[in-house]
């Protein structure tokens, strides 16, 4: 923190300012599509930030983070279908359901480590994906349209796209701040300590399992909120919300932006999704470019964009 005006902080300030101005630009330039694209970017960035809490700082590489997007989304969708439109009910349920799921799979998965953990989180997410396919009443494989966005009395109107955009922005920045506070708290130091040396943490009297589990649950719960936002944004839920490739995308965003920085995944999400948008405009076969690009990022830009600016790798 000695260099308050380093390149990374300047970039972060620039990104936040740009994100704040998107609705203005979108309205002036007459590309309403931009607003929708960036709303999606904000929501997925939020999911990536929560993934980075458990992966970048907690050392738990979860290949199943999209599960919480799905659970949060389905909480909103199912309640809406059953006639409960209040966001004061839907959103807390989305967060609580995600937290519960994270608690259950975290308690089991954290018994394993390394590759086992990566694969087991993937497997559990696949399980919940199939559960969603089995939910005939809520659209099954095809998904289901949500006819009314979450209602917050007269407080805030989510159907106004600009309002919704700024709500997402505020929630994203709130999440970043929360994660920043968590990472720099005593709790966060224990988490980071057990990432670098689990045995030593145990030797000095901390039970890493419990700390990691709590961290895993916080990450999942916050991502559930992103899921609720995503369902409101698309007015639609389907099992594709938690397809395993989305978990992979979230991983890529975190790594591309820089896992060592709390804000890194936001930069990663903006970069990845804008790149996807540009490439898919150029060619139908854009994934043939982006796939090898992932490989190149892994091979040559391990610290991500944030890491390149800071010019150092985290230990």
């Amino acid at each position: 923190m000695s260099r308050r005006f380093n390149t990374l902080n300047l970039l972060i300030a620039g990104v936040i300012a740009a994100l704040a101005l998107i609705p203005v630009y979108s309205a002036l330039s007459g590309y309403p599509f931009l607003l929708s694209l960036f709303t999606r970017i904000l929501i997925l960035a939020m999911a990536a930030v929560t993934l980075n809490l458990i992966m970048g700082f907690g050392g738990m590489v979860s290949f199943g983070h999209a599960a919480y997007l799905g659970i949060g989304g389905y909480a909103v969708g199912i309640l809406a279908k059953e006639g409960f439109n209040s966001g004061f009910l839907q959103w807390p349920v989305a967060v609580a359901a995600s937290a519960l799921f994270a608690l259950a799979i975290g308690a089991l998965s954290l018994r394993t480590r390394g590759v086992y953990f990566i694969m087991i989180t993937l497997a559990f997410t696949q399980m919940i994906y199939y559960v969603a396919i089995g939910l005939d009443r809520y659209g099954g494989d095809d998904g289901m349209t949500i006819y009314r966005r979450s209602q917050f009395g007269g407080l805030i109107n989510l159907s106004n796209r600009t309002v919704f955009y700024y709500l997402c922005l505020v929630l994203l920045l709130g999440t970043v701040y929360l994660v920043y506070r968590i990472v720099n708290s005593r709790f966060g130091l224990v988490i980071q300590g057990s990432r670098s040396n689990d045995r030593r943490m145990r030797a000095i009297g901390f039970p890493p399992y419990r700390y990691k589990l709590v961290c895993f649950v916080i990450g999942g719960a916050l991502c559930g909120l992103a899921g609720a936002l995503l369902a409101n944004h698309t007015d639609f839920i389907s099992p594709a919300l938690m397809h395993w490739t989305r978990s992979g995308d979230l991983l890529v965003m975190s790594v591309l932006g820089g896992m060592g920085s709390v804000f890194g995944p936001v930069i990663g999400a903006v970069a990845l999704l804008m790149l996807e948008e540009t490439l898919s405009g150029l060619t139908e076969y854009w994934q043939i470019i982006i796939g090898p690009l992932f490989l190149l990022v892994v091979l040559f830009a391990r610290g991500g964009i944030a890491g390149m600016l800071v010019g150092e790798h985290r230990g």
Binding site: T112, G114, I120, A123, F124, Q287, G291, P292, V297, L299
Partner: protein, 305 residues
């Protein structure tokens, strides 16, 4: 009861297929310490190659043989171009890099073969059913899958446990520096092992191709099941992979066939018909969870290999 035997045989057949995939994955992981998500892409390529070559040569067998060679070459090329650079790095790097490869291969297949998918026709003599037990008929081709996979499993066992190259493979798994220091070309060894894994995946893909349609992304769902298999079996253990593959294949198939009926005993018919399929797809994962509680390293941890 006859239905049960028939479904069990289907389960064994799925288990065999899973074993082919899991064996390659676990071999590559055990020896190179590499997590290869793109294994499913090689499975898909095996199926596409077989469908193409079979159409070109007009023979299923010739198509299958050419497909195996093509998959081997692609596998070794992937190893030399990409995988080699990932050895010794973080598992997260493997996941991301090979995730990128999946996207690449899916799109490449769409570019070359188009989005429609293909079918691989069986020779007509394969289309019959044989009587395996009095009153139990089973499609001949599925029996062929079971028998040929067993043969492959046996070959693999002999190769790894009884030959010089197998000895080098096992030595490379336990101490790669030492093997290198003894003058063995470890790079070549790794390329061969990766090629072997690719052939196993390609074989699984081409054997499955006549039963399912050959399509983009066909390798992904089965790959995740194969991951479950190696988690249950213990990563790095081929024996574990075999036992777990059988377990998963049987439970999945038999569960799908009987669970909805079983649940009808406890639930209303309506509830059972919706909950049944969902519950049976969860069955495998609940089993995995149960096993992880008691054996976090899987049934056959690699140390006892």
């Amino acid at each position: 009861m006859l239905y049960f035997i028939e479904q069990s045989l289907n389960g064994v057949q799925l288990g065999m297929l899973l074993f082919l995939l899991a064996a390659g994955l676990t071999l590559i992981f055990g020896i190179m310490d590499l997590v290869n998500l793109a294994h499913g892409s090689l499975y898909m390529l095996g199926a596409y190659f077989a469908a193409t070559f079979a159409a070109m040569t007009g023979s299923f067998i010739a198509g299958a043989l050419l497909a195996l060679i093509a998959t081997l070459l692609v596998g070794m090329a992937v190893e030399v171009i990409a995988m080699r650079r990932l050895y010794g790095r973080d598992h997260l790097d493997h996941v991301l890099g090979t995730f990128g490869l999946i996207l690449f291969f899916n799109e490449l297949v769409r570019l070359i073969w188009g989005p429609a998918g293909m079918t691989l026709a069986l020779p007509s003599e394969m289309l019959t059913a044989v009587q395996v037990l009095p009153g139990v008929y089973f499609p001949l081709y599925r029996l062929v899958i079971i028998v040929s996979t067993l043969a492959v499993a046996l070959l693999l066992y002999v190769l790894v446990m009884r030959t010089r190259i197998g000895m080098l493979i096992r030595a490379g798994a336990s101490n790669r520096e030492m093997v290198g220091a003894l003058g063995i070309n470890i790079k070549l060894l790794y390329t061969l092992v990766f090629g072997l894994g690719a052939v196993l995946a390609g074989f699984a893909g081409l054997m499955q191709a006549p039963i399912l349609t050959v399509q983009i992304g066909m390798g992904e769902n089965i790959l995740i099941l194969a991951f479950v298999v190696i988690i249950i079996g213990g990563i790095g253990s081929i024996r574990g992979a075999f036992v777990a593959a059988m377990l998963v294949g049987l439970i999945d198939t038999v569960g799908r066939a009987f669970l909805p009926d079983l649940m009808r005993l406890f639930l209303s018919a309506n509830a059972a018909s919706t909950a049944g399929p969902a519950f049976s797809s969860m069955l495998i994962y609940m089993l995995t969870a149960g096993i992880l509680v008691f054996r976090p390293e899987g049934l056959f941890p690699a140390a006892t290999r």
